[in-house]
């Protein structure tokens, strides 16, 4: 008798565990689940000097059978290595671009300007989202930027100039002070 109850309890627990571990399936399907909307990027890597600008293009294509909802393309940038703080607002004057519906078989090209503020390795990508909740985000391939440091003002060239130039107005000041003192009548 006790064994039967124990078996029932074990079965119930096993049943409950089975139910709780079963993944919940999402009923809403995204329009990108079939890969109908794709984003391509015109280059995969670029090497430049920190401070330079780079322009790249993304093409958003609709290979599906239905028109897409109005889309939002958002630019983002991240440092590949920990350390530098990258604020995307400072790296691009235009981070978000809005696109109207893309008809089946059509595509839209967007241009993006990026200003590499400092040296390092960075990953740049564009994400497509929509006001329609059913539209899942679509990411572009990553553009890798390698920025070399470029010190415009090397300190060894700066020091002589900043040390010597003020000596000229200082000399002028001393000369005018001296001549003024001479002009005063001796007591």
């Amino acid at each position: 008798m006790n064994l039967k109850i124990l078996t029932k309890v074990i079965l119930m627990i096993a049943l409950m565990a089975l139910v709780s571990l079963t993944p919940v399936t999402v009923s809403a399907q995204t329009s990108t689940a079939d890969g109908s909307v794709t984003v391509t990027i015109d280059r995969d890597s670029v090497a430049l000097i920190a401070g330079d600008w780079v322009t790249f293009h993304t093409v958003i294509s609709n290979a599906g059978e239905n028109a897409t909802p109005p889309l939002v393309a958002n630019f983002n940038v991240a440092s590949i290595h920990p350390g530098p703080h990258v604020d995307p607002e400072d790296w691009s004057p235009l981070r978000t671009q809005y696109i109207d519906t893309i008809q089946p078989g059509e595509s839209v090209e967007l241009a993006w300007d990026v200003h590499t503020l400092f040296e390092g390795d960075f990953a740049v990508y564009v994400t497509i989202v929509s006001q329609e909740k059913s539209f899942g985000p679509v990411g572009s391939p990553t553009l890798h930027i390698h920025a070399e440091p470029d010190n415009v003002l090397p300190l060894n060239e700066v020091i002589p100039v900043v040390a010597i130039v003020p000596l000229f107005p200082l000399a002028l000041l001393l000369i005018t002070s001296r001549s003024k003192r001479k002009q005063r009548p001796a007591k």
């Binding site: 000097i49 470029d150 010190n151 003002l153 700066v158 003020p166 107005p169 002028l172 003024k180």
Partner: protein, 262 residues
Amino acid sequence: MKPKEKQPGWMVVLSTETRHLWLGRQGPLLLLIFSIFLSLYTTLVALDPEMNVLSPRSMTNVTLQTTMLVGILVALLLTANSISGERDQRSLESLMLTPLPRGQIAIGKFLATLSLWLGMIPIAIPYIVLVAKSTGMIPQAIMLLIFLGSLLVMLCAGIGILISSFAPSNLVSFAASFITILLLAAPNQLPASVRDLPVVNWFIVFDPITAIAKYQAGILDGAAWTQELGLLISPILLLILIAALGPRILNRRLSLQGGFEQ
């Protein structure tokens, strides 16, 4: 023997004011402060990792703007004090009793102030050369400093002297002059997205100070000197207006107490 020609009134004021400025140590002292400021600025830029990786052209543009800004401030400091300072020290009465037309007094003081800018240019050149070296645009940067800097300084000095002529006290003159120049220069600090709005863009073109800044940035970005020459229309027009009407207005309206009453 030909009799010696009489010096024009403004020339008498110019020579007196220039002598006072340079031999009175005020000019050399301001030049020393200017050079120390530029030395500190350049050293800080060289030491600041974020500034020191700006593109050479951007850094040249920023350095030129900073140099001109100091030139403007010094010119404004002197011109805003020129007439209202005399008014505060009660020495304007004796100046107005001289047979000189009042507009010529202002012209003499205005030109004396510009002599300081002429002293600032050779001091600024080594710093500009240092920063612009890697751009290969040293001649352009020096030309911009000389021509646009002089245009800006003349404009601001003209505005300063007009305000000083009508301000009842030095305090009012300084406050009004600096606020006017700050308001004219403020659109430069607007975010790029706001500056691209058509209304703001038109304002930037018509505002003489922002128009000069825009022209300068264009040249340093590789534009031809004649490409955006239209941007210089508003500053040149305003300068002509100040030069043509300023002395006439002052001849009639410069008074001991200040204000606009005849």
